[in-house]
């Protein structure tokens, strides 16, 4: 097992000849491949990314729910943390408790500011004993890295530091292979002897002279994997993976279906559903906050919020109950009992059509009393109010029996 090749791989090839939608947008190493496949390129978090391919968002969404889809997630950031003090230091900045995981496992959690607000949500993978891969949101790479760097302990008298932190975002390419047939796709690509990590597990393998970090994580609510590997190899890997998966129904998927899939699963999107002004408790992410583990940045604010009876607003999921245009972010939300002239009780933070439920869905922060499943609310869509109901999260949950390794014939 050698992770060194990933960690020391050369920088990616120079940017391709294609013109980005805006000269200020960054391109992933797969930009040319997306353009060649007819991907509709849009700006997202400072990156030029495919929102969809010619197959369309609905088809891409259903491929992931029913078969498999592959997403370029190379825009996301990768940091490496190592050194003898790495785990304890990360644990002092991260809401979850890294002492509960060991090599080969990962954990979802948050970085908070001193006000208990969310800087970013991320997954930390302990890919080898004491060695950590942090995968952060594309739009937050610089901010997160600056935050982490600013909180490094000073070097000791000899100038040594017990913690190694580096930003490897440009060296990694990353693909998410998601859907019930994702294990089959990986077996077709890596060979049938591949050993899959468990859910939230991570393994490092060498394949064709390249090091792959393979994690059983994702952002779709389905079984699936996220692969991290040297950026220079990404074009070949992308083509080979699509070819390996074609008979299983694997298709390339863009950000449009990534958004509709994660919204059905009620995974928050930072910048929309999470903000520096709201705590993870308000966002309903309390199970990823280990208040009892000891000090971490933001903890005192969360303890106080809890002692004061909990957050006054909570992130609720809702489903439209009448035929209407799809709800979208920043639409006003009203209490169903409020009179016509009453002020909105909130604003949608996410929204869209759920292809699986065939209804409009979304998320919104509501006063705690309204944020209970079954509460009728109204969404103002272009000046007209439509009925919706607060639902228990997630809005979509996969039937696990469909996705056990034994049930998935590869």
């Amino acid at each position: 097992m050698s992770s060194e090749a990933v960690l020391s791989s050369p920088a990616p090839a120079p940017a391709t000849a294609e013109q980005p939608p805006s000269p200020s947008l960054k391109q992933t190493p797969l930009h040319a491949a997306h353009v060649r496949l007819g991907g509709k390129m849009v700006g997202f978090g400072g990156w030029s990314m495919p929102v969809q391919y010619p197959s369309g968002i609905l088809t891409e969404h259903r491929a992931v729910r029913g078969a498999a889809g592959v997403f370029d997630i190379s825009h996301m950031g990768q940091f490496i943390v190592g050194g003898p003090g790495g785990k304890a230091w990360l644990n002092s900045l991260f809401t979850n408790d890294l002492n509960r995981i060991h090599a080969g496992q990962s954990q979802y959690g948050l970085l908070l500011n001193e006000r208990g607000g969310v800087i970013d949500d991320l997954i930390i993978y302990e890919y080898a004993e004491g060695e950590f891969l942090l995968v952060v949101n594309a739009s937050k790479i610089d901010e997160d890295f600056a935050w982490l760097s600013a909180h490094l302990p000073p070097p000791d008298a000899e100038g040594d530091t017990a913690i190694e932190l580096s930003n490897r975002s440009d060296r990694f390419a990353a693909l998410a292979i998601q859907g019930p047939r994702a294990p089959g796709v990986l077996a077709a690509f890596f060979g049938p002897t591949i050993t899959f990590p468990e859910r939230f597990g991570v393994t490092v393998i060498d394949h064709d002279g390249l090091t792959f970090v393979i994690a059983r994580t994702g952002y779709t609510g389905e079984d699936g994997f996220e692969l991290f590997f040297p950026a220079r190899a990404s074009a070949v890997i992308w083509d080979d993976l699509l070819a390996a998966g074609v008979s299983l129904g694997l298709i390339p998927c863009g950000l449009g279906s990534r958004d509709s899939l994660r919204l059905e699963a009620c995974y928050p999107l930072n910048g929309s559903d999470l903000s520096p002004d709201r705590t993870p408790l308000a966002a309903g992410l309390g199970i990823f906050v280990a208040l009892e583990k000891g000090e971490f940045i933001g903890r005192d604010v969360l303890l106080k919020q809890k002692a004061d009876g909990g957050p006054t607003e909570r992130l609720a999921a809702f489903r439209m109950t009448e035929k209407c245009p799809p709800p979208r972010p920043h639409y006003p939300v009203h209490a169903a009992t409020g009179d016509a002239g009453a002020d909105p009780v909130g604003e949608t933070t996410s929204g869209g059509l759920s292809p699986t439920l065939d209804a409009g869905i979304g998320m919104t922060y509501l006063p705690a009393a309204l944020a209970k499943a079954g509460t009728p609310i109204q969404i103002d869509i272009r000046g007209k109010r439509f009925a919706a109901v607060v639902e228990k999260k997630p809005l979509y949950k996969r039937r696990d029996e469909r996705f056990t390794p034994a049930g998935d014939k590869v």
Binding site: G56, I57, S260, K323, P325, P326, G352, L353, P355
Partner: protein, 122 residues
């Protein structure tokens, strides 16, 4: 991309069939919008001027205003789109029509099929 010769086109991708005042969006427009999931149509009797917002077509990703290509009064709307908005994708010049206008005015400014083909291939 299909551009029928018997239709006139607005630069904003709506088409008009002069014979009966039917309005829709072009094949090119539906392909750009993709996956249409909801269509907000004007009320029968609404008076529209050329270029005025007449309808909203919503794809999975975005809401797009549809402008009336000409002036006129809405005489009929395509009720079938309420149950099956994807008709705009599958048959933009047929079953996916949006609304009909009577007393059509300001039609001279529209492009013929040839000119519209040039616009979308530019």
């Amino acid at each position: 991309m299909n551009v029928p010769d018997d239709l006139k086109f607005a630069p904003t991708h709506e088409w008009l069939r002069g014979a009966d005042g039917t309005v829709g969006i072009s094949d090119h427009a539906q392909a750009e919008l993709t996956d249409i999931v909801y269509v907000d149509l004007p009320k029968v009797g609404t008076r529209l001027t050329a270029g005025q917002t007449a309808a909203v077509v919503e794809s999975v990703k975005a809401a797009s205003d549809i402008y009336s290509p000409v002036g006129g009064e809405v005489s009929e709307v395509n009720e079938a789109l309420a149950g099956n908005p994807a008709l705009v994708n599958t048959d933009p010049y047929g079953d996916g029509w949006l609304f009909r206008l009577k007393e059509v005015a300001e039609a001279e400014a529209l492009m013929d099929a040839e000119a519209y083909r040039k616009q979308i291939s530019a």
